[in-house]
Symmetry: C2
Subunit: 194 residues, 2 copies
């Protein structure tokens, strides 16, 4: 998505540890009208697929998940990162290793919100090592739900998560794929749908 | 908002500790098309107010904040609940006591995302004791931003937070105000705009 690549070049900042900071529009301040356009683009990419539900994980996945769900007119479910007092006992749970935070955490979702009747589209802001998406796939497996694929805003192509997921046969659509980045440049992979 | 009251009666569950569970549509599974309608209702309530930014707090405020921002065509900022590795050093910080979780936590937002030029509308899913909104007001004060008011989906009128905020002169708009609740009933306050 050309507009996203341009926005990353204009507003993104590269930090040590292969961190691309896009807090000005994607995951702390949200450019909501622009994110609604990103939702429309994901809708276009998955046109004709009988998706019933959007699944993401708190916190930074919620906004992009919402935008996709709004574009498609669907409900969204977000997995929580630990067991909360307000959740019922009947939970689906998976463990995720965070590359950014160098620690593991559990993601949980109430089993009443994903079922074997669902066709789920997994949505997240970033795809790096792919561990969060693996965890969300595991939750869908436990629920017996079908997975239509995964849609992410920004894929860090050089971190291998996208390759790993695609080799498993998962359809992965990324609105921008960063091929390499350094202090003063971000290089994108050319995609057919640009 | 009549449709919200009806949805609470249909899908909400009351748990011990004055907990109203609305996870099926408001804060774990999100009924996105309905939440977009809630965003439109908040837009209507604040019609004519020159708001520049929506401010909420992770995680359960993000979806309703996004819906309001989408209706108004504005950016949204969400405060995080602890210092994250990806945030810059320049943070606004406030401390919040959570009635639900019986513990205090910090909320932080990067100072670059709220400024003295902003007119902020605070948005959240629930208003109970009002502590989260007090924390968000404090962040706006620190930034020198004006606050247009607070909009929440569900106010627990019997927990006093709404009264406390209104007595401070904050405009508070709640799409549904629960006056009392028990295992088998939820009573709403009649509002002029219903």
């Amino acid at each position: 998505m050309k507009e996203l690549e341009e926005k990353i070049l204009r507003e993104g900042e590269v930090f040590p540890g292969e961190i691309l900071k896009v807090g000005s529009f994607l995951n702390q301040q949200i450019d909501v009208p622009f994110m609604m356009e990103m939702g429309q683009e994901v809708k276009r990419l998955f046109d004709g697929v009988p998706i019933t539900k959007i699944l993401t994980v708190e916190s930074s996945g919620i906004a992009i998940g919402f935008a996709v769900a709004a574009a498609m007119g669907l409900p969204m479910v977000f997995a929580k990162k630990h067991k909360s007092l307000n959740l019922s006992a009947d939970l689906l749970k998976s463990s995720v290793f965070s590359y950014t935070h160098r620690t593991s955490y559990d993601i949980v979702v109430s089993s009443e919100y994903i079922s074997r009747h669902d066709v789920v589209l997994i949505v997240d802001d970033f795809l790096a090592q792919g561990n969060a998406i693996l965890g969300l796939l595991d939750l869908c497996d436990q629920a017996g739900a079908k997975v239509a694929g995964a849609a992410v805003a920004i894929e860090k192509g050089f971190q291998g998560g996208g390759k790993m997921l695609r080799e498993k046969g998962i359809r992965v659509e990324s609105l921008a794929i960063v091929e390499s980045m350094s202090d003063d440049s971000v290089i994108f992979k050319v995609q057919g749908n640009n």
